[in-house]
């Protein structure tokens, strides 16, 4: 995603008041854009001030304040075809869960292929943002297993 695309996306959000929050994930980049003001449509008295502050009287469209947050996520992909397991055996706790901090080399999961249990290690240090495959599911080569926010 280049700056031009980023600007266009922000423009769409600012010019369309019905969009409260937008999250895009594309080729390893996650973009979240959120309005800093409260719900425009809500009539709670607490938000009156901010609504009043927006120049609705003038004809020129005024951009609302938008908070853009861009982050690079790292994806752990399956190096083999096999069955994905989150834990070393059915009775154990998963190796990792969302929110856990992992080190480079930490075991994240097991992929069983041809009766062999292959431990898959993290290639980066960081926080587990999501586990993308369910326990016991088959995975193909290159399939995304975990999203990690690198430290």
């Amino acid at each position: 995603m280049n700056l031009k695309e980023l600007k266009e996306i922000i423009d769409i959000v600012t010019s369309n008041e019905s969009i409260e929050e937008l999250e895009i994930e594309k080729s390893g980049v996650r973009l979240r854009i959120r309005r800093s003001s409260n719900h425009v449509g809500s009539v709670s008295t607490a938000s009156v001030a901010s609504i009043a502050a927006s120049p609705t009287i003038t004809s020129a469209p005024a951009p609302s304040k938008v908070l853009a947050e861009i982050e690079e996520l790292f994806y752990i992909k399956s190096p083999i075809v096999g069955t994905f397991y989150t834990a070393p055996n059915p009775d154990s706790e998963p190796f990792v869960s969302v929110g856990d901090m992992v080190e480079k080399g930490s075991v994240l999961c097991i992929i069983e292929a041809m009766k062999l249990m292959n431990e898959i290690e993290s290639e980066v240090a960081g926080e587990i943002v999501s586990v993308l495959v369910e326990n016991g599911q088959p995975v193909e080569y290159g399939e995304r297993l975990f999203a990690i926010r690198p430290r």
Partner: protein, 454 residues
């Protein structure tokens, strides 16, 4: 019968196998590399699993990933197609151990025929004539000189583990012998990981004629006649036809009978092809046996009306041969032109996007391909993009039909062999059937020189 088959291949042959499975009511699982995510075999199979990056050694040759896919998708059998793992005795063995049926012969049969020197001596022992030559690989210079003298020049040096023309050298005199042997051994070592070479008689104007065989697992075997594949460049076939112009029904019956006897004696099952060199006196010399379905199988399908892939699957499932020898009839003449993405003069590969595509149809025309408009020919695999196959009542009709089909074949964006095929088809020696394995080399020599001088 099988419920589900994994197709361990790509391109037109993967599609061809999927056609047969669909017609038999068998589910299919495609495997693909990252370069083939949008390929037609992926689209038309019931399931598809990515098995690796584009490089074939990491994907289509990746045995652990293919076996894992077979286990995960719960298939009964694997069809290896041609190339890739189709003649890997080890892969067939892994399938056997994993109790997945390998659609092909046993791993032992593949291993025997894969060792060209052993295959020749074994076939010779059970009654097929072979070219005079060293029964085994050559170890010393002295041995090489003595063997070549005994056979008489010219001789050809070939890699024991060879195929596809690599590790081959023709030697016309004693002066060239030892240096050619060293080159051939070096080529063999780098191409196949084994430097062993053998020496045999070289026939100046040899034809390449092969016999299609089919055998079940109950000891029955038949032959489906011959294909002539003399139009080759660097030992890669370019045009195949059936029948051969030199064949008579009597000669076919005679050679066919010996071929069937030989494969019965080896206990071979499934489809296979025995390749022969044929000299100007119509003497057949066994060269090697291919233990897989071949690229040019449609030529035999058109003259016999038999679906070879279907029968191959039925035999692997344990069925008896669906045909008796006396039922096999040969009708008309079939030709196949291999349309490769390569420069028709230099033969350099020409991968890239096909910008415009129309494949011809009409009576007696068949196109086996996995290409289409906007298809990107990947640089990672072989250059075959389509097989244009025609059938006519006579050889002359088949040639005319092929010529008009080639003329109407629209293929833009990549260079291809269509202009070369038309040049061959218009050659009067080809029209008369005066062909031999060096035909193309001699036809192209003046052009190549002209290009070099320009």
């Amino acid at each position: 019968m099988f419920r589900k088959i994994l197709v361990a291949n790509r391109g037109e042959i993967a599609l061809r196998i999927i056609y047969a499975c669909k017609e038999l009511g068998i589910k299919t699982v495609a495997v693909f590399s990252e370069a083939d995510r949008h390929a037609l075999h992926v689209r038309f199979a019931d399931e598809a699993i990515c098995i690796g990056p584009p490089k074939s050694s990491d994907s289509y040759l990746n045995i652990p990933n293919i076996i894992s896919t077979a286990e995960l998708s719960n298939v009964d059998a694997i069809h290896p197609g041609y190339g890739f793992l189709s003649e890997s005795a080890y892969f067939a063995e892994v399938c056997e151990a994993s109790r997945i049926k390998f659609i092909g012969p046993s791993s032992e049969a593949i291993r025997l025929m894969g060792d060209k020197a052993r295959a020749r001596s074994e076939m010779n022992r059970i009654g097929l004539p072979v070219l005079p030559g060293s029964a085994d690989s050559i170890h010393t210079d002295k041995e090489a000189i003595a063997t070549a003298e005994a056979i008489g020049y010219p001789v050809i040096i070939k890699a024991v583990a060879g195929g596809g023309g690599r590790g081959m050298r023709v030697v016309h005199s004693r002066n060239e012998l030892l240096s050619s042997l060293k080159t051939a051994q070096a080529e063999a070592a780098s191409a196949f990981g084994a430097p062993q070479c053998y020496i045999e008689k070289f026939i100046e104007r040899a034809r390449h004629i092969e016999f299609q065989v089919m055998a079940d697992e109950h000891g029955n075997a038949i032959h489906l006649g011959e294909r002539e594949c003399s139009i080759q460049r660097r030992h890669q076939k370019l045009i195949e036809e059936a029948p051969s112009v030199i064949m008579t029904p009597e000669l076919r019956a005679e050679v066919g009978c010996r071929v069937v006897q030989a494969i019965k004696k080896t206990g071979y099952s499934n489809v296979g092809t025995l390749e022969f060199l044929v000299d100007e006196k119509r003497q057949f010399y066994f060269m090697e046996m291919n233990t897989r379905i071949q690229v040019e199988h449609p030529v035999t399908e058109l003259v016999t009306g038999i679906d070879l892939i279907r029968d191959q699957i039925l035999i692997a499932a344990g069925d008896r041969l669906p045909h008796r020898q006396e039922d096999i009839q040969f009708r008309g003449h079939a030709l196949e032109c291999r349309i490769n993405a390569e420069d028709p003069v230099t033969h350099r590969p020409s991968p890239g996007k096909i910008t415009s595509w129309y494949s011809p149809g009409g009576p007696g025309v068949r196109v086996d391909t996995a290409a289409h408009a906007e298809y990107v020919v990947p640089p990672h695999y072989d250059s075959l993009i389509a097989k244009l196959i025609v059938h006519g009542s006579t050889r002359d009709e088949a040639i005319r039909r092929m010529d008009r089909a080639l003329e109407m074949f629209v293929l833009e964006g990549v260079k291809c062999t269509i202009p070369l095929h038309r040049q061959i088809l218009h050659n009067s020696a080809f029209r008369k059937g005066n062909i031999y394995t060096k035909f193309l080399e001699h036809l192209q020599e003046p052009r190549v020189r002209a290009v070099e001088m320009a």
